[in-house]
Symmetry: C2
Subunit: 431 residues, 2 copies
């Protein structure tokens, strides 16, 4: 059992997301991930996350709990103009402070509203109320200011719940504030917590685990994380807090992960499969068209999530019916009759058909059984063929037998098709 | 300020999600939403949610906090076979119990593994360790059993983190256990917390707010929630706990919401736009084909998320380039030259083209500028046209000016197109 005592509270953080909709599920707390990443750059580790409704007594209770175990508490939400928004009141109550309208809070808000041709209304005036002794944190993109209060040797920070506003304030107000505060109190900032993420496709979690066996020696201050999803297995390396040599330790481990997993890694960090494929296509000045049966448009949707994808994506055919496969792609009726619509032969004909009709460099196809219906004795739910045609007889097909529900099989299929294209593009590059 | 004291702890619940990946963002806690809904049926309100990593001391700390404020504590995760999984140990430590292998826990697991032709390995044997005095909760779909422990007059429940297993255990073990426990202790179950959800499309949050003005009289024990997203505004009615007449109060309010929002409501509860459209098409025995430019396949993807959609969706054309619009849909080159690819005329020609070529009842089209590039002086990012062609000169087009980034504009566009189809189908039904 790794020891992980509640000591050195200064470098332990807790996030508190406030809003009744977060409890019942209308909205989910994505803010805490950004906060975790940002605080990590100062060596502060988020160890607890709390979610609480718009109830003053519950918020008070949650702040009291947080201050016992964390030195940095970042609250999001409950700073809006309505009476439901009671974060200000809860912080004032818990810390025994008075709420008063603060000049710098009011002026920042009034200036922001003036840009939009408005003046503060009654609710917005409430937003300028700040607990006494707190530092006002200016909101560069919205009207609600935030604040930071030192209390019981913890730093209690309140930010708006709107992600865009919270993000801007974390970067431009909170992180500089924490850095300066540590400097003033002659406390050295902890060393940043570093995290590297590798996205793999095509290996099972057990495969990845066995390839990475023995990677991290005992006592090396790095955690290895594996996380399986329909898109593949994510591998993360996270340095433990308070290690001055984090970068020196992490660099060779990153290199080792890349060596051991090789081309199974399709992206790193925030990068995505569709962005990687897009860059490879752009670099090689190639164009693509897709022919989708069981994915129903998901591959096209993913490729077009990338800004500028119109430069390489010409078109796609969602050929759900057999007639559509014949009309849109020229798949021979005899091929469908002989092999079935879900077959290597049809996947191949689809890829070739879309490439020729679109006049593009490469055609990509998927046909399969996403379920729950449509299976036969020889063709179970999850049987999927992907095909790629690069012209001049360069055709590849691959068979997959995926598990999961309809939505998962669609995701896995789209990922397998894009990965086939990625690998083909990489191989072509080195030819 | 609504009073909401921390009294009647029996009916206050807290969820604790355990797993380091939940802190850094590899995975998000979706389990708590299901737990909230299920406990609501017993009148138990989830007022706090906590997330904590795989650190025994932190889990102990979180349980100690929870038991001070909640009478029902549902923990998920940390029951797996690896040494990282330490929920069992944390509960035993906090409550001062011994961990021992329990016969009924072992037998349930062995029986489950035997079905898969396996015997328990060393890690799995650890999963049969249960704190003394706890009741074993059988896992009907996986190998890890859960348990329920009464401690400090709270009920501490531990369940696996895998959603499918957690859901089955909540329904088949936890809810019956709580019901029976209340019955045995001669405590009356609280009245269920009822929640109704209405999904609207096409109205702004301010529009919905003004239409629902004065809906809920003061002192009525129902909360009204509004939540805006790219898919529209969600309206929720949630009864407050401990009200015996919840159903009597909620029914007329639901009726009033339906009357005031009318056809702007596209779905209720867990229902989705694509499922609603699918049912309308099936009922009227109609077929559809889609022609997508800026949505890039998203509409096809959404329609094919519904099992059985192959009965009414014939095909789709993702016509990203102008050439594709001409080739796949027969959009006249002159029309594109005269009006531009993003125009009412081209949307109309796309809908007509896909309907005729696919030989379906109705064609649906979208063309627009998703950004960030592609805008001109007269055609800004977010300008979108949707078109519908039902044959016999029955063509509709609508213009939208959406805000948001590329992904948001794609979502809004797909929703606007499907909503146009939904309204057309409803109007057709009543003809």
């Amino acid at each position: 059992m790794r020891r992980h005592p509640l000591s050195d509270r200064r470098f332990i953080a807790e996030t508190i997301a406030i809003g009744s909709e977060l409890l019942v599920g209308g909205r989910s707390d994505s803010n805490s991930l950004f906060i975790t990443e940002q605080l990590g750059t100062c060596g502060i580790e988020v160890r607890f996350k709390s979610i609480v409704g718009d109830h003053r007594t519950d918020i008070v209770n949650t702040i009291q709990t947080a201050v016992r175990r964390a030195g940095v508490i970042v609250m999001t939400g409950g700073l809006g103009p309505t009476v439901d928004d009671c974060t200000r009141e809860a912080v004032a109550e818990v810390a025994g402070r008075r709420l008063a309208r603060r000049k710098e809070a009011f002026e920042g808000m009034a200036a922001r509203l003036a840009q939009w041709g408005r003046t503060p209304n009654k609710g917005q005036l409430r937003q300028a109320l700040i607990p006494s002794g707190a530092v006002v944190l200016t909101n560069p993109v919205g009207s609600a200011p935030g604040f930071a209060l030192s209390w019981k040797s913890a730093l209690v920070i309140a930010l708006p719940g709107v992600p865009r506003e919270m993000e801007a304030m974390m970067e431009h107000a909170v992180i500089p504030f924490i850095t300066e505060r540590f400097a003033q109190s002659a406390t050295h900032l902890s060393h940043p917590i570093l995290r590297s993420v590798f996205h793999t496709c095509g290996l099972s979690e057990a495969d990845v685990d066995s390839r990475l066996h023995g990677l991290i020696a005992k006592r090396t201050p790095v955690d290895l994380g594996l996380l399986a999803s329909p898109m593949g297995v994510l591998v993360s390396l996270t340095t433990k807090p308070h290690h001055s040599s984090s970068r020196t330790i992490l660099d060779p481990l990153e290199g080792e992960v890349r060596t051991r997993l090789g081309e199974w890694i399709f992206a790193e960090g925030q990068d995505t499969m569709e962005a990687v494929v897009g860059r490879l296509l752009s670099k090689q000045e190639l164009t693509v068209a897709v022919a989708e049966s069981c994915t129903g448009g998901l591959i096209g949707h993913r490729l077009t999530q990338v800004p500028g994808s119109s430069a390489y994506l010409d078109r796609g055919a969602i050929c759900y019916s057999n007639q559509a496969k014949m009309d849109m792609l020229g798949v021979p009726a005899e091929s469908i009759a002989a092999h079935g619509a879900v077959s290597r032969e049809v996947a191949s004909a689809m890829a070739k058909g879309i490439r020729e009709r679109a006049g593009v460099s490469v055609g990509l196809s998927v046909t399969g059984i996403a379920g729950p219906g449509g299976a036969t004795e020889s063709k179970p739910v999850g049987l999927v063929y992907v095909g790629l045609d690069g012209g001049a007889g360069d055709t590849i097909t691959k068979e997959f037998r995926f598990h999961g529900d309809r939505s998962v099989i669609k995701q896995r299929s789209s990922q397998a098709a894009l990965d086939l294209l990625r690998r083909w593009l990489i191989a072509r590059e080195s030819r």
